[in-house]
Assembly symmetry: C2
Homo-oligomer: 355 residues x 2
C-alpha cells in the first residue's frame, strides 16, 4: 500500500435518504416541504444583481441574521447561520463537545449524531427511549460532556413538552444542551422561550422543512451571545464565507413572509392529521407526530415488503434496518393529492394481501 494512505481519516459517513429523479414520483422520504417557498423568494431572486457575484458575500450574513432576529425577537448577536442545520450542528459539536466525558443523545434519534461524534472523536452514550419512544429525562441526569436531541424527535415525530426540556437543561448547567428543532414548526413549542433563563442552551432550526428552502442550504442556531461568538470563531477558522449571496438574500425574504410561513405549516399539519386517521383505519399504529412526517408500523404486515411495493409504485418513503425500528417506515407529509395517492396504493397493497 502506498504510504500516503496511512494518514487518511477513515470515517463512516452519514447516509442521507436517496434523491430519486423519477418523473411522476411521490417523494415522501426526506421530509421536504411539498409547497414552494414564499413568493417573496422568487421576487428577490429576480432582483439579484449578478454583477455582485464577483464580490465575496457578507461573512456575517447580516441581512439574513437581522431578518431572523426580528422574526424571533432576539438580538442579532444571539444568531449563528450556516449552510443547513447539519452545518450548524457539526460546528456546535466541534465548538462545544470537547470534554473527556461522553455526550448524551437518545438511542433512537437523528442518525447523524454518532457520525459527527466519530468524526470529531467525541465519546458518547445513547440512553434508550422508553417503550413509547419517549425520552426519559432522568437518563440525562448524569455526568456528561454535553447533550443533544431533536424536539420533536426523529424519526419518531414525538414532541416533548417544554417542562421536560427545561428539566434537562436546568439539571445540566455544567454542559451545553442543544435542542435540534428541525421540526418544531409543525405543532411543537420552541425552547427559544427558555433562553432568557439558561445560558447553556442552544436551539438549532432549519429552513429545509417549514420554509421550503432545502435547496438553498440555510440553518441557524440561537443562543446566548457567548455561545454564538464561540461558534463564529470556529466557523472563521474553517471558512469565512459559507453563505452565498443568493442564500442570504432569498433566505431573508423567506423569513420576512410570516403569513405564508403560517399558512404552509398549517396546511401540512392538517394533511398530517387526516393522514393519521386514514393510516389508523388501515391498521397502522404510530407515535402521535408533531413533525412533518409519520413514523408508522403495522402489526400484521411486513413493512419492508410494503416499502418495496410503494417504491415500485414510485412512492418513496424511508426505512431503516436498525433492529428497534426496522418494523417502521417514516412517511413525509406531502400535499393532499400525494397523501391520497399513498393511501390508495396502500389500500391496493392490502387488497392484494387479502386475495
Amino acid at each position: 500500500m502506498e504510504e500516503w494512505k496511512n494518514n487518511i481519516r477513515r470515517v463512516t459517513p452519514y447516509v442521507a435518504g436517496e434523491q430519486p429523479q423519477e418523473t411522476d414520483m411521490v417523494k415522501l422520504n426526506t421530509n421536504e416541504c411539498p409547497y414552494p417557498p414564499s413568493p417573496e423568494v422568487e421576487k428577490v431572486l429576480k432582483e439579484v444583481d449578478v454583477n455582485q457575484f464577483r464580490l465575496y458575500p457578507d461573512p456575517e450574513a447580516t441581512q439574513l441574521v437581522n431578518a431572523l432576529a426580528e422574526f424571533y425577537q432576539v438580538d442579532s448577536d444571539m444568531i449563528f447561520v450556516g449552510t443547513g442545520s447539519d452545518d450548524v450542528i457539526a460546528n456546535a459539536f466541534q465548538t462545544f463537545f470537547n470534554s473527556d466525558k461522553p455526550i448524551l443523545f437518545p438511542d433512537i434519534t437523528y442518525s447523524f449524531y454518532p457520525v459527527w461524534a466519530d468524526l470529531y472523536r467525541v465519546k458518547y452514550e445513547t440512553p434508550a427511549l422508553d417503550e413509547n419512544f419517549r425520552i426519559r429525562p432522568e437518563d440525562y441526569e448524569k455526568e456528561n460532556g454535553g447533550i443533544i436531541f431533536p424536539n420533536p424527535n426523529a424519526p419518531t415525530g414525538l414532541f416533548e413538552e417544554l417542562d421536560t426540556i427545561e428539566r434537562i437543561v436546568k439539571n445540566n448547567q455544567k454542559s451545553i444542551v442543544i435542542i435540534d428543532e428541525a421540526y418544531i414548526d409543525f405543532g411543537g413549542e420552541s425552547a427559544l422561550k427558555l433562553l432568557p433563563k439558561y445560558k447553556n442552551l442552544l436551539v438549532v432550526q432549519t429552513f429545509s422543512k417549514s420554509r421550503s428552502m432545502a435547496g438553498m442550504r440555510i440553518g441557524f442556531a440561537i443562543g446566548n451571545p457567548e455561545l454564538i461568538q464561540a461558534m463564529k470563531d470556529v466557523k472563521y477558522s474553517i471558512n469565512s464565507y459559507t453563505m452565498s449571496q443568493v442564500s442570504i438574500q432569498t433566505g431573508a425574504a423567506a423569513v420576512r413572509d410570516r403569513v405564508y410561513f403560517d399558512e404552509t405549516r398549517k396546511k401540512i399539519m392538517e394533511t398530517r392529521e387526516w393522514t393519521k386517521k386514514a393510516l389508523a383505519e388501515l391498521g397502522f399504529t404510530f407515535p402521535d407526530s408533531k413533525a412533518n412526517f409519520i413514523f408508522a408500523t403495522h402489526e400484521g404486515w411486513d413493512i419492508v415488503d410494503l416499502f418495496e411495493y410503494l417504491r415500485k409504485k414510485k412512492i418513496f418513503v424511508r426505512h431503516w434496518n436498525q433492529p428497534a425500528i426496522k418494523h417502521y417506515m417514516r412517511i413525509t407529509i406531502g400535499t393532499d393529492v400525494e397523501m391520497t395517492r399513498l393511501i390508495e396504493e396502500i389500500k391496493q397493497y392490502k387488497e392484494k394481501l387479502c386475495l
Copy 2:
C-alpha cells in the same frame, strides 16, 4: 465562571480582508475579479426554478462536477466541490493531515494554513522562503505529515515552475501534497498535468478569482479518485448538502463559457502588466506576480502611511503587520479605470511627500 465554558474550543480565527461597503470606493484588498461573471450565469439564474428550492440539492453536485470534468478533461470521480476553496482545503486538512509528523508550508503564505492546523490540531513547520520570496524545494525533503502551498504563492504572487512542483511531489510520495492554485489562471501553469504521474497530489482551485463567482462560494479539488472519495466521506460526515441549487447551476454555467473565462483573465493580466510598469516608475519594487495582485514595497516610503492615505481616498488595499512583510502592501488588479485612479492617487501622495 460557568462550568459549561470549560469545554468550549478556543481558537484564533482567520481574519479575512475587510469588506467595506462605501460608495465610490476602489476595492483592491481581497483579490476579487473586477469583471462580472459570464453572461451565461445571468441566463441560468433567470431560468432557476424557485419551486425546486423545497427539495434538497443534488449532494454530488453532478451538473457542476461534470462541467468541470469536461473543462479539465478528467474523470468526474477525480473532482470534489465545496463552498469555496477554503471549504475544500479545510476538508483536505481534516482528511489527509492525520500524521504525528508536522505538515510543511512556507513561512510567508496564505495565512489560513496555520489557522486550520491549529483548529484540527495538526503540527506544522514553516520553512522560510529565500530572500527573493522563492520556495526552496530542498526544505521540503524531510519527514513530514503532508505539504501544502499556493502556486502562485500568496501574498507574493510568485509562480514556481512545474519542475519545482514536480520535484516536491516526487520526493514526498509518502505524503499528500496539496497545491493551492487559487491564482493559477493569471499566467501560471497548473499542476493538473502532473496528476497522471502522482497519486499523492491534490490540486485545489476556486471560482472566486478568475471566474468572478466569489459571492456564490464554489471551490474544487482534483486528484486521484481515492483521495477524492476520502474527502467525500469526510464531507458526508459533516454536511451532506453543502452546495445550493443556485451555486451548482450558476457554477456549471460559468465553467461552460470558456471564451469569456479566457477574455477575463487576459484583461486582468494586461492590466497587471501596465500597472507593474507604472508602479516601477514610481519607485516601487515587487516580486514578478503571476496572480491577480501585486505585492509591492517602496524603499523610500512608509508603506503603512501610504496604505492609510489610500484608505482615506477610498482605495482599499491589503497590509499585514507580520515583520517579514510589513513593508509591503498587496494590491488586487482591478479594471484599467480603477488602477489608473490608484496610480493617480499614489502620484498625489508622492507630490505631497516632495513638498
